[in-house]
């Protein structure tokens, strides 16, 4: 046996790297029996059902706390539960934010079967947003809840800065869709800043990014939710059109401006009464200008990103491998990267790969145009929205921005009065 092995090592270089029965099955005479090793697969079914049920229950509780009780403490305790359960215990995967990619992939790739609970994780927060606003962001999303829990001060960003930054989630979204639709990578999962914290370990760069975001969220309300989260951007569209509107107080606003100071995400709009009204024709002209600008921006965005599709397609593994192979061919004396080595070791077919790469590049071109159009449209739409001036008599919540943290409830003196009255009554009785 030993001898044959040593001989074998001589010509092993030519041997294929697959399982070959080089040695016959041993005939045991001592009555040896093969051990039975069982590898168990934990069924996630129970946890998936629990996730969905908890998601619905927690969102229901937040709705009740925000609309009925106007209580921040319930929302805060939901945040704690969410960080503990969805964050640390379930280690943050699969989340609603990331489910965008699964949904895109299911829509594009007929071979991919979307797990039912991922679909639910994607849809339920949207349904709630259509009914009540961004309930999910409030105290149910572990990423938002984590930032909410450690937030102490709110340094206000100027409206121009925050409006500019709020385009970033849509750019992020456009690239996410582009990469998910071409099956290149799951960008959201890769760049998730807090997953490393929930898992207590991970990619060091991303962990640092997460920690910087957390330090920022001490002083600025929810930087990730406001300026990065693509799912938050999606929810804000539905939330802006929601059936119910959140009100700071049920007793009528007295324009004391306290709530506006309290809001961490700058979602409370001050009344606009005393300002001089601008000339109507000027306003109409401006709107017309921005309406014309909207398709222009959409078109130029599409052209701009579409023209870069070849460079973008390098994010796909096969395209990158193809480029590596080409550069290897052009410059054979350089050291072979592992991908190239493996490609040759597995007897890769260059022609087949080229065909594949061409079809991937076509796909990239198509989706890059779409993604560019989306970015252009969003920028145009944001400009249009900024140019509209609304008249308001009282402080109002901008449902698109509001993440339902409930801070303003406690600041509103109208709300305080009632609770104080209640306690007074209690002490008297």
């Amino acid at each position: 046996m030993r001898k044959t092995l040593i001989i074998l090592t001589g010509f092993v270089c030519s041997a294929k790297a697959f399982a070959v029965a080089r040695f016959p099955k041993p005939d045991f005479t001592s009555g040896y029996e093969y051990p039975d090793i069982v590898h168990s697969v934990p069924s996630e079914l129970f946890w998936n059902i629990l996730d969905v049920v908890l998601l619905i229950c927690m969102m229901g509780l937040v709705v009740w706390a925000a609309y009925r009780k106007r209580s921040r403490s319930v929302i805060l305790s939901m945040s704690l539960v969410s960080v503990a359960y969805f964050g640390f215990f379930r280690s943050g995967c699969v989340c609603s934010v990331g489910s965008i990619q699964n949904v895109v992939m299911a829509a594009v790739d007929p071979g991919y079967s979307l797990p039912w609970y991922v679909l639910l994780l994607f849809l339920i927060p949207i349904v709630f947003a259509l009914l009540f606003g961004r309930v999910f962001c409030s105290g149910v999303c572990p990423l938002g809840a984590l930032q909410e829990l450690i937030n102490v001060r709110n340094f206000r960003l100027s409206r121009a800065v925050s409006a500019t930054l709020s385009v970033i989630p849509w750019i992020y979204m456009a690239f996410t869709i582009l990469y998910a639709a071409t099956r290149s990578q799951f960008l959201i999962c890769r760049l998730d800043p807090f997953i490393g914290i929930f898992r207590l370990g991970g990619d060091i760069g991303i962990m640092c990014f997460g920690i910087i975001l957390l330090i920022m969220s001490l002083f600025v309300g929810r930087p990730f939710c406001q300026f990065l989260c693509p799912y938050g951007a999606l929810l804000s569209v539905f939330s802006a059109l929601s059936w119910k509107k959140l009100e700071i107080t049920g007793k009528g606003c007295i324009n004391c401006a306290l709530c506006g100071v309290s809001c961490p995400v700058d979602a409370i709009r001050a009344p606009q009464l005393s300002r001089t009204k601008e000339d109507r024709s000027r306003g109409v002209k401006r709107i017309i200008l921005f309406v014309i600008l909207l398709p222009l921006l959409t078109f130029s965005g599409a052209v701009l990103l579409g023209s870069q599709s070849d460079a973008l397609s390098l994010a796909h593994k096969d395209v990158y491998l193809y480029e590596q192979l080409l550069s290897q061919e052009a410059n054979p004396q350089q050291e072979e990267p592992l991908e190239v080595e493996t490609f040759h070791a597995l007897g890769g077919d260059m022609e087949a790969l080229k065909e594949k790469v061409d079809s991937i590049r076509d796909e990239y071109e198509r989706y890059a145009y779409m993604a560019g159009a989306l970015i252009g449209f969003v920028i145009g739409f944001k400009l249009l929205k900024l140019s509209l001036k609304r008249s308001r008599k009282t402080y109002e919540i901008d449902m698109a921005r509001c993440t339902m943290c409930g801070k303003c409830f406690n600041y509103c003196p109208q709300n305080l009065k009632t609770s104080k009255l209640h306690t007074d009554e209690k002490t008297v009785s």
Binding site: M1, R2, L5, I6, T9, V12, A15, A17, F18, A19, A21, R22, F23, K25, P26, F28, T29, Y32, Y34, P35, I37, H39, S40, V41, P42, S43, E44, L45, C93, V94, G98, S99, Q101, V103, A106, A107, Y112, S113, L114, P115, W116, V118, L119, L123, L130, Q185, F186, C189, R190, I195, R199, V237, F238, L241, W243, L338, E341, T342, F343, L346
Partner: protein
């Protein structure tokens, strides 16, 4: 003039409300439609959420050890006893061209000593993997597939795997050996024969 102005003060609000209601209905309809469309794509059971290595494609490049999101990779070496030749000079146990067959560290293939062997009968030895020590580096797998029967192979331990939405190893796997599998195919074992 003042009457008209009063009318106008009222009318833009109504128009705005009308537009709002319309767009709400539009958004609701869009959500419903896309939900319905996606529901046709959804799978009944858990779907293909597990990640597993196709050991016939795997080249044991070593990235499983380094690229998993866990600090100790979820990838472990598995051993198919029914494929194993039970050799004394095992390509997965000893480094190539060792001078003496003993358990001195410089002779051992496994850097963590996760492969244990036990004498069965002349000339056979039984090999077992201590999964707690295995780091999934694949050195033994490489040795076994090139010198032996290929009974050692890498698999993702489903009890350790976090089932990330996107497997960090699959993203860098040079042979595209990691794929999404369903619950029923969560392992791709070699010793079903």
């Amino acid at each position: 003039m003042s009457d008209r102005k009063n009318d106008k003060l009222k009318s833009p609000m109504d128009r705005r409300n009308f537009l709002r209601t319309c767009s709400s209905i539009l958004a609701g309809g869009a959500a419903l439609l896309s939900g319905g469309f996606l529901a046709t794509k959804a799978s009944g059971r858990e779907g293909e959420v597990f990640w597993q290595i196709d050991s016939y494609r795997c080249t044991a490049c070593g990235r499983c050890e380094t690229d998993c999101v866990l600090s100790v990779s979820a990838v472990k070496c598995f051993h198919a006893n029914r494929v194993c030749g039970y050799c004394d000079l095992c390509g997965g146990y000893y480094r190539p061209n060792v001078k003496e067959l003993n358990t001195a560290a410089e002779n051992m293939m496994c850097p963590t000593g996760a492969i244990r062997r036990e004498f069965v009968e002349e000339p056979y030895f039984e090999y077992t993997i201590d999964e707690a020590l295995c780091t999934g580096c694949g050195k033994c797998v490489k040795g076994c597939t090139s010198f032996g029967n290929g009974s050692l192979f890498l698999q993702i331990d489903q009890e350790r795997c976090q089932q990330c939405n996107e497997c960090a190893i699959a993203r860098v796997c040079p042979s595209d050996a990691i794929e999404r599998v369903s619950y029923d195919n969560a392992y791709k074992l070699k010793d079903h024969a």
